[in-house]
C-alpha cells in the first residue's frame, strides 16, 4: 500500500456519506484494491464506523480486486461461445500474481467471448473487433457518432434546451408519444414525469446508466456514440423537474462511456449549459442489482445496494428522501426527438441489442413491433448458425424456440408466449447450445446477483439453479407442481423486480420446452 498516495488522496476525498462509493472507487483506482487498512483509513476520514465501510465495500464485486484484473465474461452470449473454457485456460496460464475474475455480462456481447483488463476491451481471438454496428435510426441517429458538442449542434442538437417547451407541452408530448421506460419495467414516462412535477422541491434527477441486463448493450451505444444527446435529454428532465442536481449512475465496466460522458459534461459546462446546475457521474462497482432504482438510491447514499420497499416510489421518496426522477439512458435520449417531432408524429421505436449467433451483432433502432427474424436478417446480417433459441429481452424476459421468430416483439404479442421485451436485448443462440444450460446459467446469474434481502429470491433462485443443474443430468430435484408453487411464491412475494422476474424464464420454458422437464413429472 502506498501510504503517501493514500494520505494525499484522503485529503481530497469529500466526507459526506453520499461520497462513500465514489471515494472507494477512487482509492481503488489510485491506490489499490480496498484492503482492510484502506477501508479503515477511509472510515476514519469520513467519520463512519469501520464495519459499515466494510459492509458496503464487500457488497460490490470489484472494490476488493485490482483495477488491472482480467475480467472474463461468462454471461449467456459469451458462455455460448465457450467462455467457461476460455476462463479456465486463462486462469491456468495467468501469472501467479495476476487476478482473473469471472464476471456476469460485461455489456459487450457483440464481441463475445470477451474479457476486459482495466479499461481495455479484449475480445478473445480477434485483434480488431468492430465496435459499434448501429443504424441511423430516426429518433436516436446512432449511425453517426458525435465527436464534440459542435458536431451535436450541427445535427440540430441543443435547440430544445435553448427554447425550452413549457412543462405542459412536454407532458402532453410525452404522453402522446406513448414512450414507456426502456430500462425494462416499461412504465409510461409521461406519467412518471407528471408524478414528479406534483411533488415538492427540491427534487433530483438520476440517469440509470447501470446497464447490467445480460445481452443488453444499447445504453452503452448511446453514451459512446451520442453522449450529448443523452445529456440534452437529461437537462430537459432537470429543467422540467426544476432539479438543480442530477446524477448519472454508470456501471464501472463502461470505461469508454465514462470518458465520453465526462468530456461531454465538460463541454456542456464550458458552453454555460450547466450554469446553476450540477451534473455528476457516479460510478458503480459491480453489482447488477444497483440497476434497480431503489437499490441505486441506497448505493448512492453510501449503503449496500439493497432495494427499498415500494411504495413509497422514488418520485415521492427518492435520493436522500427527496422526490427523484429516475429514467433509463435510452428513455432520456429519445426525448429530444419526441419534443422536436411532437408525440404523435414521433416514429415509435427503440434500440434493440442483437447479439449471439448473428453475422453482424450490434445495436439497432427499429419499430416496437419488429420481429426477431427481421432484426436478425435485415439489421444484423443474418444468422451465423442454425438458430436454437432466442431471448427477446434480458435475463427475465423468457427463452423462446425458433417458432417465435416471427412474433412482433411487443409487450402484448410476447405476453402470449409468456415472455416480454424487457430491455430489448435480443440474444440468438445456436442449436448446439442447450436451452437447459441457458436456463441454468440464467438462474445462477440471479442467485449470484440477488442482494439477499428477501427470502423467496435469496433461496428460490439458488434452488431453481440447482433444479436446472440436476435436470442437465436427467435428475429431478423436486416435483413439477412444487416448482410451480415456488415460482408463484417468488413472483408474488419478492421485494423487487429481480426476484419477481426470475420465475419468468422458468415458467416460460415449462410451457415452450416441456420435453426438457419430463423428469420432474407432470404439472
Amino acid at each position: 500500500m502506498d501510504v503517501l498516495r493514500l494520505t494525499s488522496l484522503l485529503a481530497e476525498l469529500p466526507t459526506p456519506r453520499t461520497s462513500l462509493l465514489d471515494n472507494l472507487g477512487r482509492i481503488r483506482r489510485e491506490v489499490g484494491p480496498i484492503t482492510a487498512e484502506l477501508s479503515d483509513a477511509l472510515a476514519d476520514h469520513m467519520n463512519i464506523r469501520h464495519g459499515e465501510v466494510h459492509e458496503v465495500k464487500s457488497f460490490y464485486s470489484f472494490l476488493e480486486v485490482p483495477v488491472d484484473a482480467l475480467r472474463v465474461c461468462t454471461g449467456p452470449v459469451c458462455d455460448c461461445f465457450g467462455a467457461r473454457a476460455l476462463l479456465a485456460r486463462t486462469q491456468e496460464h495467468a501469472p501467479p500474481d495476476a487476478t482473473v475474475l469471472e464476471v456476469p455480462c460485461l455489456g459487450h456481447c457483440e464481441l463475445a467471448p470477451v474479457a476486459t483488463r482495466g479499461d481495455t476491451i479484449l475480445p478473445f481471438g480477434r485483434d480488431e473487433p468492430v465496435l459499434h454496428r448501429a443504424n441511423e435510426g430516426p429518433s436516436l441517429g446512432l449511425g453517426q457518432a458525435d465527436g464534440t458538442l459542435a458536431d451535436y449542434e450541427r445535427r440540430g442538437g441543443l435547440e430544445l434546451l435553448r427554447s425550452l417547451p413549457s412543462p405542459e407541452r412536454i407532458l402532453a408530448e410525452l404522453k402522446a408519444s406513448g414512450l414507456a421506460g426502456y430500462g425494462g419495467a416499461g412504465f409510461p414516462t409521461g406519467l412518471k414525469w407528471e408524478a414528479i412535477a406534483a411533488e415538492p422541491e427540491p427534487r433530483y434527477v438520476i440517469v440509470n446508466a447501470d446497464e447490467g441486463e445480460p445481452g443488453t448493450i444499447k445504453d452503452r451505444y448511446v453514451m459512446e456514440l451520442r453522449p450529448h444527446l443523452l445529456l440534452e435529454g437529461t437537462l430537459l428532465a432537470m429543467r422540467f423537474a426544476r432539479a438543480t442536481e442530477g446524477f448519472v449512475y454508470l456501471r464501472e465496466e463502461y470505461a469508454t462511456a465514462r470518458d465520453r460522458l465526462a468530456r461531454a459534461i465538460g463541454e456542456f459546462r464550458a458552453a454555460g449549459l450547466l450554469d446553476g446546475l450540477s451534473l455528476e457521474l457516479v460510478v458503480g462497482a459491480g453489482a447488477y442489482i444497483c440497476g434497480e432504482e431503489t437499490a441505486m438510491l441506497e448505493s448512492m447514499e453510501g449503503r449496500r445496494g439493497m432495494p427499498r420497499l415500494k411504495p413509497p416510489y422514488p418520485s415521492r421518496f427518492g435520493y436522500l428522501g427527496r422526490p427523484t426522477l429516475i429514467n433509463n439512458v435510452e428513455t432520456l435520449a429519445h426525448i429530444p426527438a419526441i419534443l422536436r417531432a411532437g408525440g404523435e408524429r414521433w416514429p415509435r421505436g427503440r434500440l434493440w441489442s442483437v447479439t449471439g449467433a448473428v453475422r453482424e451483432p450490434g445495436c439497432f433502432e427499429a419499430p416496437l413491433d419488429v420481429t426477431p427474424r427481421r432484426l436478425i436478417e435485415e439489421y444484423a446480417g443474418g444468422a451465423s448458425d442454425e438458430i436454437g433459441a432466442i431471448v427477446p429481452g434480458g435475463a427475465a424476459s423468457g427463452i423462446l424456440p425458433p417458432a417465435a421468430l416471427d412474433v412482433p416483439l411487443t409487450r402484448e404479442a410476447l405476453r402470449e408466449w409468456g415472455a416480454g421485451p424487457g430491455s430489448a436485448g435480443l440474444q440468438v443462440f445456436p442449436r448446439r447450445y442447450p436451452p437447459l444450460r441457458l436456463l441454468g446459467e440464467t438462474m445462477r446469474f440471479f442467485a449470484e446477483e440477488s442482494c439477499q434481502k428477501c427470502t423467496p429470491c435469496r433461496i428460490g433462485n439458488r434452488a431453481l439453479h440447482h433444479i436446472c443443474a440436476e435436470l442437465e443430468h436427467g435428475e429431478a430435484a423436486m416435483p413439477r407442481p412444487q416448482v410451480e408453487e415456488w415460482l408463484d411464491a417468488m413472483a408474488a412475494t419478492s421485494i423487487c423486480g429481480l426476484g419477481q422476474g426470475a420465475p419468468i424464464p422458468v415458467r416460460n420454458a415449462f410451457r415452450l420446452w416441456p420435453e426438457l422437464f419430463a423428469p420432474l413429472g407432470s404439472a
Partner: protein, 741 residues
C-alpha cells in the same frame, strides 16, 4: 399531547380499534390474531420487510403484502393465513424456502425448544420439505467473541443482529458481508465483537445462529426454570429472567420493562453471573488465626466472634456500605448497629438525594426528548449502560445531545460538573436557553461528586422544569442500590452520627466496599475489621472476621434504581451459605433486637418510614415508578474546591470506573476481553507535543510512582487531561507526567 385518531381495522373478520398508524402486527395481536414474523422487530427501527413471513392479503390490494410494513388505516380489511388461502400459500412457501436451506439440527441446537423458526414451522409450516437442496455450508460454529458463537448455516439473514449493531447499539461491528450466495453475517475483519451490548443479538436472533458460548449445551428449555428478577450490577436495574437448572444460574435474559430497559441488557448484566461459582468464592465464615492466615469456622462460632467484636466496639463502629445490599439487608444491618449498639457512623455509597425526585421521569422518557444534556466526567455507558441506549434512541428520533465534560461536545475540566450546572443556569448560556425553551429536555449527571443530584435539581429548577411534564433529570449513581441503601439506613434511626476516633471496629459490607481504597485506608486505622464479602481475594490479609456474602441472584428483597423505582429481587438459586438477613437476624437477637429473617417482614417494618407504606406484594413484577415529588427546598449546595489543573507539563489525571470491572467481572473468563486494555488516553494536542502516537508505550508518573501503559489518542479529549481506567491508574496522583518509554 393530542389524543391519537382511532381507526377500525378488521382482521380475519375480527374488529380492532387502534390508534391510526399502529403497526399491523400489533393491531392484529389486539384482535387476538397472530401475524408471524422473523425480521420484524420494531425496536430496531423501521421495518425492512425482508423475510416475507408476515404475508397477508389486504382488501383492495392485488398482491400479497408484508404485514409488518403496514400500519392500521381506517376501514382496512386484512386476511391472514388463517382465512386467506393466498396468504397461507405465500407463507408456506416462505417457510419452506427457509427450511430447505436450514440445517435442521434442532436436536443439537441451543435454541431448540424456544426457537421462533421451530415454533412457526410447527404452527404454519408444511409437514416436511420436499427437496434435497445443497444448503450453504460454512465452517461452524465460529466464535465471534468469547461470549457469542455464530452458526452461519442456521442464519436466515433477517438482519436483526446487524440492525441492532448499527442502529440501536451504534457499534457497527456486526455486519452483512458480500452479496449473492456468499452473503453472510460477520464481524469486521473477523475481529471479536467487542461492544458493551453485544449479547442482545443472541436474544434477537430468531434462530440458533447466534448463541451464547456460556449457555452452549448447558440446558434444554424443558429442563430449566426462569426466575423473574432484576439485574443489580448497576443502577439501571434491568428486568431479567435468570434461567436456572439444577440449582445453578445458566444464563440471564431480558424480561423487558418498557420504561427501564426496553428489553436490552448490557453484557455485564448478561454474562457476569458465572461469578457465583468463582473458585475463590467464600462459602464459610473465616477467622484470622495468624498474621495472614485464616481458618474456616462454623456459623455458631462465627456469630460468637461477631458478637464479641460488636460488644467490644460498642458505638465506636464505622460501617462501610457497598450500595449493592438489598434494601432489607441494609436495614437489617442498620437495625442491629444503630438500634442495638448506637453505632450510627457509616460510609454510605454516593447518594442521589431527594431533590431530583421533583424532576422524576421514567428512563424511557429520554427517548422522546428533543434535547439531552449530559454533565460530568464519566461516559454514560460506563456508569449506567442502558441509559446510553436510551440517549441513542433519542438521537435516532432527531434529538440533539450535548455532553459537557472532559471529552464532551462542550469541553469542561474534570470535576467541574457543578460549575457547568451553574453556567447552564446563567442567563447568557445558549444551551441553557434552549433547555429553557424546550418542552422535552433531559438533564443527566454522569460522574462523581457528592451532591450531583442536588446540583442538577438546582439547575432543573432554574431552567423552569417544574411543571413541565416532558422535562426531567437523572443522576447516575456509582452503585446499583445506593438510593435504597441510603433510605434503609436512614429508616432505622434519625440519630446523628459521631465519627468515632479511634475506630474500634470497621464493618465492611459487600465487595464494592471491600475493594474501595478509601475503605482499605479506614481499615488501617481500625482496631478490628469484620468483612462481609464473596471472594477470598477481597478479604484475606486485612479482615479479622470474614462472613460469606451473597449475590443479588441469591437473595430476595428489593432494590431501588436510579430513577427511584423500587424493584423486586427474587432468589434464583440458593446461596452456598445463609444469606445476610438470615445470620443478621440471629445476631440481632443476641442484642435483643427483633429482626425477622424474611425480607417481606423486614420490608413491612421499614416501608412506612421509607416508602410511604407500600406493601411488599405491591412492588410487582414490572415495578411502577412513583409519581414526581412536590418541589421542595433544595439542600444547601457545597462547592468542592476544583481539582488541580494541568500546567502543560503535568496533566490532569481523570480516573474512571469501566463498566467491565469489579470483583464479579474479574471472575468471569468470557468477559476478560471486554475489560479495558492497559492504556492511557491522551488528547491529540498533548500527544503531539510529546511526540506520542496511538499504540506507543508510555510511562505515566507522579511523585515517585509510575506505571507503563499504551497510549491512545482521543480526539475528543480536552487538552491537559489524561484518562486511565481505575484499575490501571493504581496509586497515581491527581497530576501526572506522560513520557514516551
Amino acid at each position: 399531547m393530542s389524543t391519537p385518531e382511532l381507526v377500525t381495522v378488521t382482521i380475519d373478520g375480527r374488529r380492532a380499534e387502534v390508534a391510526k398508524g399502529t403497526g399491523l402486527v400489533e393491531t392484529a395481536l389486539q384482535a387476538g390474531v397472530e401475524i408471524p414474523v422473523f425480521c420484524y422487530e420494531p425496536r430496531l427501527g423501521p421495518p425492512i420487510g425482508a423475510c416475507r413471513m408476515c404475508l397477508v392479503e389486504i382488501e383492495g390490494m392485488p398482491k400479497l403484502q408484508a404485514g409488518c410494513t403496514l400500519t392500521a388505516q381506517d376501514g382496512m380489511a386484512v386476511r391472514t393465513a388463517a382465512t386467506s388461502e393466498k396468504a397461507a400459500e405465500g407463507q408456506n412457501a416462505t417457510l419452506e424456502f427457509i427450511l430447505v436451506n436450514h440445517p435442521l439440527d434442532c436436536p443439537v441446537c441451543d435454541k431448540g425448544g424456544e426457537c421462533p423458526l421451530q415454533d412457526l414451522t410447527f404452527r404454519y409450516g408444511p409437514g416436511n420439505t420436499r427437496m434435497i437442496f445443497p444448503k450453504r455450508t460454512f465452517e461452524k460454529p465460529i466464535p465471534i467473541s468469547p461470549t457469542i458463537a455464530l452458526d452461519r448455516e442456521r442464519c436466515i439473514l433477517c438482519y436483526r443482529c446487524t440492525r441492532f449493531s448499527e442502529s440501536v447499539a451504534g457499534d457497527g461491528q456486526l455486519v452483512a458481508r458480500n452479496r449473492g450466495a456468499q452473503s453472510a453475517i460477520a464481524t469486521f475483519e473477523d475481529e471479536p465483537y467487542r461492544a458493551p451490548f453485544s449479547g442482545n443479538v443472541i436474544e434477537l436472533c430468531p434462530v440458533g445462529a447466534l448463541t451464547s458460548t456460556q449457555y452452549r449445551f448447558e440446558a434444554r428449555p424443558w429442563e430449566i426454570q426462569n426466575v423473574p428478577t432484576v439485574c443489580a450490577m448497576c443502577p439501571v436495574g434491568c428486568n431479567v429472567s435468570a434461567t436456572t437448572r439444577e440449582g445453578k444460574v445458566k444464563r440471564i435474559v431480558s424480561r423487558n420493562h418498557p420504561e427501564v430497559d426496553e428489553g436490552w441488557l448490557c453484557d455485564k448484566g448478561r454474562f457476569a453471573h458465572s461469578h457465583l461459582r468463582a473458585e475463590d468464592r467464600i462459602t464459610e465464615p473465616l477467622l484470622r488465626v495468624r498474621r495472614r492466615g485464616f481458618s474456616p469456622i462454623g456459623w455458631d462460632q462465627a456469630l460468637d466472634e461477631a458478637e464479641r467484636l460488636l460488644r467490644g466496639a460498642g458505638s465506636r463502629i464505622v460501617t462501610a456500605l457497598s450500595g449493592s445490599e438489598t434494601v432489607e439487608g441494609a436495614y437489617g444491618l442498620a437495625r442491629l448497629l444503630r438500634g442495638g449498639l448506637g453505632a450510627h457512623s457509616a460510609v454510605l455509597p454516593e447518594e442521589a438525594g431527594h431533590a431530583l425526585d421533583a424532576y422524576r421521569l421514567p428512563l424511557s422518557a429520554i427517548r422522546d426528548a428533543e434535547l439531552v444534556v449530559v454533565v460530568g466526567d464519566d461516559p454514560v455507558s460506563e456508569r449506567a449502560p442502558i441509559v446510553d441506549l436510551w440517549i441513542r434512541a433519542a438521537q435516532r428520533g432527531g434529538a440533539e445531545l450535548v455532553t459537557a465534560g472532559p471529552s464532551g461536545t462542550l469541553l469542561a475540566a474534570p470535576g467541574s460538573a457543578a460549575q457547568v450546572c451553574r453556567d447552564l443556569a446563567a442567563p447568557g448560556s445558549e444551551v441553557g436557553r434552549r433547555l429553557r425553551e424546550s418542552a422535552r429536555a433531559i438533564l443527566i449527571w454522569s460522574g462523581q461528586g457528592g451532591q450531583g443530584g442536588a446540583h442538577l435539581a438546582a439547575l432543573a429548577r432554574a431552567l423552569g422544569f417544574d411543571g413541565k411534564e416532558g422535562c426531567g433529570a437523572f443522576h447516575l449513581p456509582a452503585t446499583p442500590n445506593g438510593r435504597g441503601v441510603a433510605a434503609a439506613w436512614a429508616a432505622a434511626s434519625d440519630e446523628e452520627a459521631e465519627n468515632p476516633e479511634p475506630i474500634s471496629l470497621l464493618i465492611v459490607s459487600g465487595d464494592e466496599a471491600a475493594s474501595d481504597p478509601n475503605v482499605r485506608a479506614l481499615a488501617e486505622r481500625a482496631e478490628a475489621v469484620l468483612a462481609i464479602t464473596m471472594f477470598h481475594a477481597l478479604a484475606v490479609g486485612w479482615a479479622d472476621l470474614v462472613l460469606p456474602a451473597t449475590s443479588y441472584l441469591e437473595r430476595d428483597g428489593t432494590t431501588m434504581n436510579l430513577e427511584g423505582r423500587l424493584q423486586r429481587l427474587r432468589r434464583a438459586v440458593m446461596p452456598p451459605a445463609p444469606d445476610e438477613l438470615a445470620w443478621l437476624s440471629q445476631l440481632a437477637e443476641r442484642f435483643g433486637i427483633a429482626l425477622p429473617p424474611y425480607p417481606a417482614l423486614v420490608f413491612e417494618e421499614l416501608s412506612p418510614v421509607a416508602f410511604g407504606g407500600l406493601a411488599f406484594g405491591e412492588v410487582g413484577e414490572r415495578a411502577a415508578l412513583p409519581p414526581r415529588a412536590e418541589a421542595a427546598p433544595l439542600p444547601p449546595l457545597e462547592s468542592a474546591p476544583p481539582p488541580p489543573t494541568s500546567d502543560g507539563h503535568y496533566l490532569q489525571l481523570l480516573r474512571y470506573r469501566p463498566l467491565f470491572s469489579g470483583a464479579a467481572v474479574e471472575r468471569v473468563p468470557e468477559l476478560q476481553f471486554q475489560r479495558p486494555p492497559r492504556e492511557v488516553e491522551l488528547s491529540a494536542d498533548d500527544a503531539e507535543r510529546r511526540r506520542i502516537s496511538s499504540g506507543d508505550e508510555v510511562s505515566v508518573r507522579s511523585n515517585g510512582t509510575s506505571t507503563a501503559l499504551r497510549a491512545r489518542l482521543d480526539r475528543r479529549l480536552a487538552p491537559g487531561v489524561v484518562r486511565i481506567a481505575e484499575e490501571h491508574a493504581g496509586d497515581l496522583h491527581a497530576l501526572v507526567e506522560v513520557v514516551k518509554a
